[in-house]
Amino acid sequence: MSHDPWVWVAAFFTIAIFSYLWKENPLYRFAEHVLVGISVGYLVCIDWFNVLLPKLVEPIMNNGEYSLIIPGIMAALMLFRFSQKIGWISFWPLAFLIGFSGYAIPTVIETNMLTQIQATVNTPLTGGWFEIASGLLIIVGTLACLVYFYFSYPHKGVVGKTAQFGSMLLMISFGASFGFTVMARISLLIGRVLFLLRDWLGVVS
């Protein structure tokens, strides 16, 4: 058994959340509401000490970088979002921030489109017949899945068959994702069980 009071607190909250499996109850609600409050408080402190203090307050106070007052004011304007009358002022800083998505257009095109098409074309087609067939599967499969998500032509004839093949590949891929997800969820439970058994009760090493 642990002698650290914080471990006992952690164990209490772990069990409180687990109690939800039995049914919704006040203990679970308590833990859930505590979590919301604490995580938002946590966010405030991290934001203050890691971002606003070193990037805004200190440069202005200590180094006299007064031009930073402008983004400081813009950051403050964000908070007008809640005003019924002049909520539109918060559009200004928001408009500035979302403008950066202009950089995303070429980035996305190069990273997720051109590089991916290039890699598909460059798929090595060497080795035995099986390696070559597998390589071809990537090329034909990518095309087939793209055809599946192409909506300007009815799925008839060759196009229909290709799309059908694409949908089979999609199912295989989704199956893999499904299996991985099962694994992930069980890992999360293992993490909590390990905490209860080892850190709290000390029954396993």
């Binding site: 890691n50 890699a119 798929t123 694994m183 069980i186 439970l189 069980v193």
Partner: protein, 286 residues
């Protein structure tokens, strides 16, 4: 006939809490049995191990992005620890980054804990830079000089006073970049970092998002992938086999993982059999 029908109905509509107890036990009991689990590393995990050894050979530091919060802690923390153990045991310096505000303290703790095991000193062997918003911009600026976005470390020290950083400026000075995250951040690293600055990039991800990253592996935008708790166990196995370091939480969980998977597979199979038997009976009775 009717009896059998009733029985099937009962099983198919069994109280979910019975199922809960079974899965809970299948995860808890293996911890008391202490079975030995043998795990074969996959090629993408071995690739990460080899690259880390390469970093030790070229004597260059590495970057690790700790971008996870408590919700994915169980999957990603063992992985982070395994990577750090390998790095510190081979005297590789580590620069930690973080873009997930809710996980900032976690990353700092994980780094400190593992550093303590190997007697590594903060500021000389590893440094943790603070949380930053607008990660895309920070990652872009890093290619030029990370001092553009960062003025101090997580502990509030000025970057100029940190000996490890004196010779470091941008991605070129690091052997590789690893991002550990269950979010979209690895993709952001590829988009805003790899595409422009062409560094060696490795992802440690939760199992949920694993399948999404394989196109990047095939295209070479990513050179290695560690997936979930199993990936951590594989890495721990490699480090144990080659460097004889003790294994960690990833390996510890594998017995429970095994039983968890088996129980779920059995559930799917039995559930489907019952469902079809029940449906056939319904058709016959009609």
């Amino acid at each position: 006939m009717l009896n059998k029908n009733k029985w099937l109905d009962y099983l198919l509509n069994i109280d979910r809490r019975v199922v809960y107890v079974i899965i809970f036990l299948s995860v808890v009991l293996p911890f008391f049995l202490n079975p030995v689990v043998d795990i074969q590393p996959t090629k993408w995990v071995s690739a990460v191990y080899d690259e880390m050894e390469e970093a030790a050979r070229t004597n260059k530091p590495i970057i690790i992005g700790f971008d996870y919060d408590p919700s994915t802690l169980a999957e990603l923390d063992p992985m982070a620890k395994a990577l750090l153990r390998h790095a510190f045991s081979r005297n590789i310096k580590v620069l930690g980054l973080n873009f997930i505000a809710n996980g900032t303290s976690l990353a700092a703790m994980t780094m400190d804990d593992v550093a303590k095991e190997f007697g590594k000193e903060y500021g000389k062997d590893y440094v943790f830079l603070p949380f930053m918003p607008q990660y895309d911009l920070v990652l872009l600026n890093f290619g030029d000089n990370f001092r553009k976005s960062y003025t101090q470390d997580f502990r509030g020290q000025s970057l100029e006073n940190i000996p490890m950083l004196s010779n470091l400026q941008n991605y070129d000075d690091f052997h590789m970049v690893i991002d550990i995250s269950g979010t979209k951040l690895p993709t952001i690293y590829i988009m805003y970092g790899v595409t422009r600055y062409h560094f060696k990039f490795v992802t440690g991800c939760t199992a949920v998002s694993a399948t999404e990253y394989f196109p990047y592996l095939q295209s070479g935008q990513m050179i290695g992938l560690i997936t979930g708790m199993k990936g951590a166990a594989e890495y721990e196995g490699l480090v144990k086999a080659k460097l004889n370091l003790p294994t960690g939480d990833g390996m510890k969980g594998m017995a429970s993982q095994t039983w968890g998977h088996i129980v779920i597979i059995i559930f799917i199979v039995i559930g489907n059999i019952l469902y079809y038997v029940r449906r056939r009976m319904n058709m016959e009775s009609k």
